[in-house]
Amino acid sequence: MSATSVCLAVIAGIVAGGGVVGFLAGVRRKMDLEQWTVGGRGFGAVLVFLLMAGETYTTFAFLGASGWAYSRGGPALYVLAYLTLAYTVSFFMLPQLWQVGRRHQMQTQSDFFGIRYGNKYLAAFVCIVGIVCFIPYVDLQITGVGIILSVASFDAIGRAPAMVICVLVLVGFVFTSGVRAVAWVSVVKDVLMVVAAVCIGIGIPYIHFGGIGPMFSALAASKPAHLTMPGATANLGHAWYISTVLLTSLGFYMWPHAFGATFTARSADTLRRNAVVMPLYTLTLAFIFFAGFAAVLLVPGLSNGDLALLTVVRQTFPPWFVGVIGGAGALTAMVPAAIFILTAATLFAKNLYRPLFAPAMSDDQVARLARVMVVVLGAISLWLALFSSTTLVSLLLTGYAGVTQFFPGVILGLYWKRARTAAVFAGMVVGVVMAAFLMVSHHDPQFGLSAGFLALCVNFAIAVIFSAGKP
């Protein structure tokens, strides 16, 4: 067998294996809305851990973190800080959210806003902003699959066929098995991902430089400025670092799918224990950084930093192992894309269509509509990924700035009785508009601070002042 066919066979095996695991995860169960969206609230600590970890380590972690280390250098380190701090924040948020969610049978983020603040327009606004912010995120995953599979298969598969196949597989398992499928595919993905990360992070420096230490010594000698902030960038200094780490760590669990994942847990204690151990999983990302920094010395001058990791992998490892990394990378993109599509479909059916257009719908009809929406949303994202340009990364950061504007509403809603609907709603609208305006008009960073962070500060101030101001 030729190198390419070995590689292709391994990739196909992993993607198909992941798909079968997902399909089998729920095919024998009766899939009502509660089972399909939050797994009947019965996931134990290990499955919740893997589901949340699976949502975290997206293609952005795989290609983006190494790509940033390669093309920007020091500023990439913000990823290690913000993930760890996001888990720290979650310790005080997710268990509480779970308790509230169980008491009021919440399944989505929009449910929380609707029930806590008693306003269906606020709930619909949260729902629409959530879905809009999702679109670039899903697209990024699907585009990522195309890149990963075409590079890892030595260009034997084109980007477009790779994207089509992967979207078909993930729509298939989400349609049949819902969130259970996503959790179980995460299990496969996480095992492969940890093995791949450690092999890459240790193997590449060892094979080319004789170890991690000699690799960094060589880099520190030839390009010392690359390793600190602002690295290879002009404006990503310490003020940017602090504001971005705060923005993204507070916003991390504001993505709509994180609420669904929270509600899958069996108990509040599961989530609290989870928050304690999650930071350790961030250590696997450090290995990805080693590979990204090694690429600076090994393959300088690539125009697209996202390709740095895979280019070095192809130069270093035998074809079968390139196949393993390609397959792991494909699942890394498919798992988050699957949960996003599942969440967006549920939000559309339950929190947008039913309350505004068809209040008489039963839960079973909502579940049926949500499943149809999985197919529709899968098709839309595939179409966008096939025909859109590369400006998606900047759109993704806009998405982050957008969902983070939910944070004041969530944290004040959980802990402060006096938080008023109008104040929270006004703050959120101002925050979303301000973040979108600053980012779309290229004013990010503004005053050296991340634009989303500035909008969040204004948003928080409005929510607190107008809640406290009136009796």
């Binding site: 800080a81 701090l85 008693g118 230490g213 390793l227 600190t228």
Partner: protein, 82 residues
């Protein structure tokens, strides 16, 4: 637009000790960045800033483990007194 049977759902406030423990990582990994963002000394073969963050990932887990013990003990006491 207020809903008459709107259930205002309020969570238990965490203890001071747990909040203090959990704020340590914010100082270690975020606000103090100008103090540790440097390449030298290269320790264990890693640039200083990278090693610092890796160290703080481990410390953060320890802080949260401490917060977990404080919170579960506090909730147990509250359950006993009720």
């Amino acid at each position: 637009m207020s809903n008459p049977d709107n259930p205002i759902v309020i969570a238990q406030k965490p203890g001071v000790g747990a909040v203090l423990l959990a704020s340590a990582p914010f100082f270690g990994m975020c606000f103090s960045v100008p103090l540790w963002d440097r390449v030298h000394p290269l320790l264990f073969g890693l640039p200083f800033n990278l090693l610092w963050l890796i160290g703080w990932i481990v410390i953060s887990t320890l802080c949260l483990a401490g917060a977990y013990r404080l919170e579960t003990a506090r909730e147990k006491r509250q359950a006993d007194t009720q």
